[in-house]
Subunit: 495 residues, 2 copies
């Protein structure tokens, strides 16, 4: 039994370890801890946290302190016997540590410390199950790109272009190939955690997919019973919830999982809510395109435990309807991928993907990237295995991010189509970012206020250039445009 | 008083003229006629038809016989006094005369004689108000193109790039510039009718727009009172309903007409239903994009007098929802125009327009064209004035029409996304037309039946080429594709 008195940064991980030997399956023992901020009571200053068995006789409890000050904790065993106690000092966050991402309002995310956060995500479902060299290349590619969210799976993937057997699994495997769902594999999880931390160092939120259908019975993780699901979720939460960059994606393409019902998803959300003390973002991602009658099968995203909408849809023109429908931030986590695979979800031009990103963003939503190029031999394909980014959209998405992050945090989609002749993100009276998409007028009259001078830039979203329009503008202003698709105009009130 | 006994083709116009002099406004006198097919009673073999004053003391009654046989008629004056009587022989239609277009089922149109009709329309709102030379060029351009429907207005147009004063109006004009809504101008209408007939000779349905907002009080036709509207409609119907290629579009962008209410439109539809003895197609066309909350203002297209849906929307990906919503044929009469005008509705690339046509058609709907290029000096712009077609989409739309018309009439959108990986028009088991749009896979597996050999063509919708894929195919079939956008695949069961 050991516990370190130490200094911990706000939103960093406190890891309390202890040795304990008990008869039977050691995973059946789950220590419980209470963490309490000195001098305060209730609210977010007192937490119940479940611990986990980490192998070799060692149990751990992990905790993410959200408030600065001195925290005390007590850990008890399943019989209520004290296992550990201690205290630590939580000091203010520093550097790039802004805490977990929260939902700020009907449309925005933000870090816990108030720093704006706008997701520009990508997708590498099974990257953490690939050979280590590939994983290193994935992290290098992410380091050179500009994505700040990654969708990835806990379970391995069995799908087209994804047939390789991983070396380790979340559970111990019997000699006959079946898995013991009562015995998670701590080595597997330690590696997963290391990669979550590696993403965190790159400033990338880990949108962790807890279930998915790309198994089809090969390993059976898509068809475990309710008890195994619950054990798996509690173990995963006990290990990972203390990492500030974790988001819970209950499932990818849940509607393709024939073995699960809506009640199962309700129960899974309830388990997450109960064992995640911090209320990380939680969502569930559909597979069908929400065309009727498929839309009838959509999980009810109005439910309070769904923090934001994580959609698959290929037509982001409908962003306003979705925002209006759910009054939650909408992330189109799958809009079709840049590539040329023989699948409708993986064969878009980079131009189409870039257009989709700009459209979704100026309409007040968020869009995620994926890349699916047929490559020679065994070269990894980014969307599933990671590896290298070879497409043309990531640089343009980085450019979009740069443009959007140059705007004030409180820009909002200006949905007044009578006033604005193109989708516009901005603040009435001070800044307007209009995107023309497939429209390519010879010029446009941009509606600016009469009482302020504005500077205007003409942005080419493909060449990633921004050209100042000569002079200053006020009132309805004719802006000459190049007559090509993919143009945006950014007007800012002069200083 | 005169009446000719003659032979008339089915669905041609019988024109009974008579002279009558009465005190007061001659337009206040409206002869009424009964046309009856010999040897039969009721149904479509007996019609009440209203006549009209054609100037110079001449009244006319026009009638379109829909059944072959001998028809007798009697015309009476407003006091019930007999004005004319006679008979004529209706003989079977010949040549290109297939009768009026009807709605055949929830998705299809067809001519009255059973010939399939699929609208591939274009738009020249005010072409009939232009100088005669321009009108001749318009007809020549239509003769060289492949459009089979034209949207055009009765009233002249006052709008951007449309400021010229027409030479004649539907009403007599006073010296002070106001109009006498009780006195239509027969010369104006004779010209309008001549152009309706000119379209008919070109095989073009005339989608005649009865009201529109592009007046803004300049002439006041957008804000006449209910009595003037009713007079105008009855006069227009009495003159034009007997032309088989007329469709009634109650209004263009009715929601931009602030002076009208939904009740006004209900009343206008009722007037059309009462005074059109033949039940020509009738629709009403919205201006806003149906985004919320604009959609709340949409006229209720479920009403029985709306024969088909004439939509403005720029996102035809939503075609299935619309078909499902209304269970009527859906024509997207405005999807954005090819051009470079400084307006969001008139600045699309030809590529975008062609993609929209293919998408709308394979999803089971219909799409209309317009062209809006900024041109030198006073050169007419097609969408309003007609003149010349200079864009690149008309040839591709003609190619699409040719492909679609090579298919059996009973092809239908195959909405099973699980089976078909792209929007598909076809007949299960015998023919499939799939369109990949912005998708550009290196190859695709097309799901064909196991029990039949199919031939496959790869169609490039932009280069207008169709390349046979080597060999025959059955079952799930890999088809190599060029990896560019705008590709379709047509698979037909081998003979």
């Amino acid at each position: 039994m050991s516990a370190a008195r130490t200094e911990v940064e706000q939103w960093d991980v406190v890891d309390v370890s202890m040795e304990l030997h008990s008869p039977g399956n050691p995973f059946d023992v789950r220590p419980r801890a209470e963490f309490r901020l000195d001098g305060s009571h209730g609210g977010r200053t007192r937490h119940e946290v479940e611990g986990f068995y980490d192998g070799d006789g060692v149990y751990r409890v992990r905790f993410m302190p959200e408030e600065v000050g001195t925290w005390a904790y007590r850990v008890t065993g399943p019989d209520g016997a004290p296992l550990a106690a201690g205290a630590f000092d939580c000091v203010p966050a520093s550097g790039d540590n802004h805490g977990p991402v929260r939902v700020r309002d009907e449309r925005r995310f933000g870090y816990a410390d108030g720093t704006p956060y706008r997701p520009f995500g990508t997708t590498c479902y099974a990257w953490a199950h690939q050979p280590l060299g590939t994983q290193e290349r994935t992290l290098a590619a992410l380091g050179n790109a500009s994505f700040n969210k990654l969708r990835m799976c806990v379970f391995p993937k069995n799908y087209a272009f994804n047939a390789a057997e991983p070396t380790r699994f979340p559970f111990e495997r019997h000699d006959d190939g079946t898995f013991d769902h009562t015995r998670p594999d701590p080595v597997f999880y330690r590696h997963l955690e290391a990669q979550v931390v590696a993403l965190q160092r790159l400033g990338i939120e880990c949108d962790l997919i807890l279930f998915h259908p790309y198994d089809k019975g090969r390993w059976g993780f898509d068809r475990m019973d309710a008890e195994a699901d619950e054990r798996y979720l509690r173990y995963t939460l006990a290990r990972l919830a203390a990492y500030r960059n974790v988001w819970w994606s209950l499932a990818n393409e849940y509607d393709f999982m024939r073995e699960k019902t809506m009640d199962d998803w309700d129960r899974a959300f309830a388990t997450v809510a109960r064992y995640d003390p911090y209320g990380h973002l939680a969502s569930i991602h559909n597979g069908t395109r929400m065309y009727e009658p498929a839309s009838l099968a959509l999980y009810d995203h109005h439910r309070p435990w769904v923090s934001h909408v994580s959609l698959q849809h290929w037509d982001v023109q409908q962003m306003r309807q979705w925002r209006s429908e759910w009054s939650k931030p909408v992330v189109v986590d799958e809009c079709g991928y840049e590539g040329d695979l023989p699948f409708r979800w993986g064969d878009l031009t980079a131009e189409a993907v870039v257009d989709t990103f700009w459209t979704g963003v100026v309409l007040g939503g968020y869009v995620s990237h994926g890349e699916t190029y047929l490559r020679d031999g065994d070269a990894p394909i980014w969307w599933a295995q990671g590896g290298d980014l070879v497409g043309e959209s990531p640089a343009r998405i980085a450019f979009l991010r740069q443009v959007v992050e140059s705007l004030p945090d409180d820009v909002a989609p200006l949905d007044d189509d009578r006033r604005h002749s193109a989708p516009t993100l901005g603040i009435e009276g001070s800044v307007y970012l209009q995107y023309f998409g497939r429209h390519r007028p010879a010029y446009r009259v941009v509606e600016l206020p009469d009482d302020t001078d504005f500077s205007v830039e003409v942005i080419d979203t493909w060449t990633m250039t921004s050209t100042p329009a000569p002079g200053t503008y006020r009132g309805p202003s004719r802006v000459e445009l190049p007559g090509t698709p993919g143009i945006a105009v950014l007007a800012r009130a002069a200083e």
